[in-house]
Amino acid sequence: MGDKIIKKGQLPNVLKALKKTYEVFVPVREDGFYSFKPLKDEEKVDLSFTNTRLSPKSLVLPQSERMFEFTLDEKSKDAHIVKEAPKGYPPKVVVGIRPCDAKALRLVHVNFDNPEFRDPWWIKRLESVTLLGLGCNEPCSTCFCTSVNCGPFNKEGLDVLLFDLGECLLARTPTEKGEKLLQLGRVDKDADSGLKKKADELKTRAEKKIGSHVPTDKLGKKNVNDLFDAPFWDDVAFACINCGACTFLCPTCWCFDIQDEVTKRQGDRIRNWDSCMFPLFTVHASGHNPRAKKVQRVRQRFMHKLKYYVDKYKNGVACVGCGRCVNHCPVNIDIREVFRLMND
């Protein structure tokens, strides 16, 4: 499918048409920041945001998710047997997701879908979500996506990529899922070569606007123990208060915890987001904790994202340069500084 055009005035109609098939999520400003929420009024869609405070990963990996249910009622023949909790995966479309967050989902995907094990909930949920991305005309001063195999108009992970050309949006569809979406949205006006050229120029301009860069070329070649034993970790880690803010905002963080919760004779096995920053993340029942000290936990976070993931999957770092951790770390621990220290 070639590039299509959506006139800005037409966008509400497109969304209205999509609502018939999908649950439509759009960026909504509430309490001072943006989050992806279900579309209420298609006439009032605000795409003027930079990015959402929390990444949209919760639409594929919910913060709390019921995995299984069980009964502890001895009278039941299924007592103590763990069973699948019924779930639905209604088709969703996320309108306005940024290329960094979409690429992040692909980076996380290898963790949940690999030859040995396939996480059924992640896979089904990701399949049910169509990503209608919006490229960034004005990247943030803290964005460094172009240094990490991404960019303000990167296609990876997106089903549709929108270029905001002012009066209209140019829609490029890297996947079949995206083509289907545009068909359902009744988007059929082809883009002429002039507009296509404008879109490409917009991409180049946006990439040049990225002011923040990090070096990554040496990370793969470095010896893991040299990095692990490096002297700079104490300095990097001092300010850290081991809160989970960075991990919970980060689009490429995926660690989770599994807990059983019981009320009377009924129970659920629940999966919740967890964080390597939390002191009890790795504590053994015996009391032994390989990462008892704060500096060990801080080091783990950066080593995992910038080294272990690189070595394990040979697909670059587990960071898309979205800048959320940089902007919201209460003590200003800056991952860009750590990139520089590790790549030195």
Binding site: D31, G32, F33, S35, S48, T50, R53, L54, Q63, S64, E138, C140, S141, T142, D235, F238, A239, I241, N242, C243, G244, A245, T247, F248, L249, D257, Q259, E261, I270, N272, W273, S275, F278, P279, L280, V326, N327, H328, P330, V331, N332, I333, D334, R336, E337
Partner: protein
């Protein structure tokens, strides 16, 4: 700011003279409105130290259980938390050299953002009582007093209560008629309305525990929410569990909280968690005439036991 110079000067001296083994303060961060807590052992590096109205983290959080002799920068609220730490045996007075900084309030970077219309700040300077914010194609000069953190607007203890040296002249304390007007507004609500108010307040909570970790009072090796044996609080974002966490944490801080605001500033989803703690601060003041951290001689009211307590239930 002259306070920066004075702090560096004092820090250099106490390191050179080996009065302390290390100094904990702030250095300039990588973002114009952020400062990063830093630990300095080398007298030559004290020029890194920086102080301005964005130093909102409470440095007393870095003290518990440290064994060294420590020089620490403390504004009014921080110094009261240091007093609380001393009373609660988390650090010894003899270990500390407190560089007190009289403070007229920290600027809330989140209050400045709406002015910027989506544009990003490149530089921030503070000429006198003003604050100038510069970016691409804009410059705003604002009255600092209009953009203070919510806790600083009502601060009743701007000067450090305990210190070994001052990095600036003492400032006039606020003569606020009613520092708890915000709390009274919530108290005046009916119970259903109040429940709605608090449920709404924490609906976006992600249980990241940034508020707890930024708080100098929360130094328990295993917080009650982390315990699994027995499990007091569920770990999911179930609203009941989330409300339990916030209410119980506020109770654990009652009578010890100095309203430094680090919790609110650390929250990544901008929740005004101080509504929980301030209510209890007011209650402790009303019931026991106590404010946290004003003295190293007095124990917090909720951990004081006296056989001659006038309340029979506790005897």
């Amino acid at each position: 700011m002259e306070q920066t110079d004075k702090i560096s000067e004092i820090a250099k001296k106490i390191l050179e003279e080996k009065t302390v083994d290390l100094v904990i303060g702030f250095k300039k961060g990588t973002l114009p409105t952020m400062r990063e807590p830093v630990l300095i052992k080398d007298a030559e590096r004290t020029d890194q130290l920086y102080w301005d109205s964005f130093c909102f983290i409470n440095l007393a959080s870095y003290l518990p259980k440290r064994q060294e002799k420590i020089g620490i920068i403390a504004k009014g609220c921080d110094s009261r938390n240091i007093a609380v730490h001393i009373v609660e045996n988390q650090i010894k007075r003899e270990q500390l050299y407190i560089i007190g900084v009289p403070c007229k309030g920290m600027v809330d970077r989140r209050k400045i953002i709406p002015l910027l219309d989506g544009k990003k700040v490149r530089e921030v300077t503070e000429p006198d009582e003003d604050i100038t914010v510069r970016g691409d194609g804009f410059e705003h000069t604002l009255k600092k007093g209009d953009y203070l953190q919510d806790n600083c607007i009502r601060c009743m203890h701007r000067n450090p209560v305990i210190y070994d040296a001052l990095a600036g002249d003492l400032v006039e304390e606020r003569k606020d008629p009613d520092p708890y007007d915000d709390v009274k507004a919530v108290e005046a609500m009916g119970s259903e309305e109040r429940w709605e108010f608090f449920s709404n307040l924490i609906k976006g909570c992600t249980r990241c525990y940034a508020c707890r970790n930024a708080c100098p009072l929360c130094y328990c090796p295993a917080c009650f929410v982390d315990e699994s044996d027995p499990q007091w609080v569920g770990k999911s974002i179930d609203p009941t569990d989330t409300m339990t966490f916030h209410i119980l944490r506020a109770y654990h801080c009652a009578g010890r909280c100095t309203d430094c605001g680090a919790c609110e500033q650390a929250c990544p989803v901008d929740i005004k968690v101080r509504f929980f703690t301030r209510k209890l601060n007011k209650d402790v003041l009303d019931l026991y005439d106590c404010e946290a951290g004003l003295s190293t001689e007095e124990r917090p009211p909720l951990d004081t036991y006296r056989p001659d307590d006038y309340d029979e239930f506790i005897r």
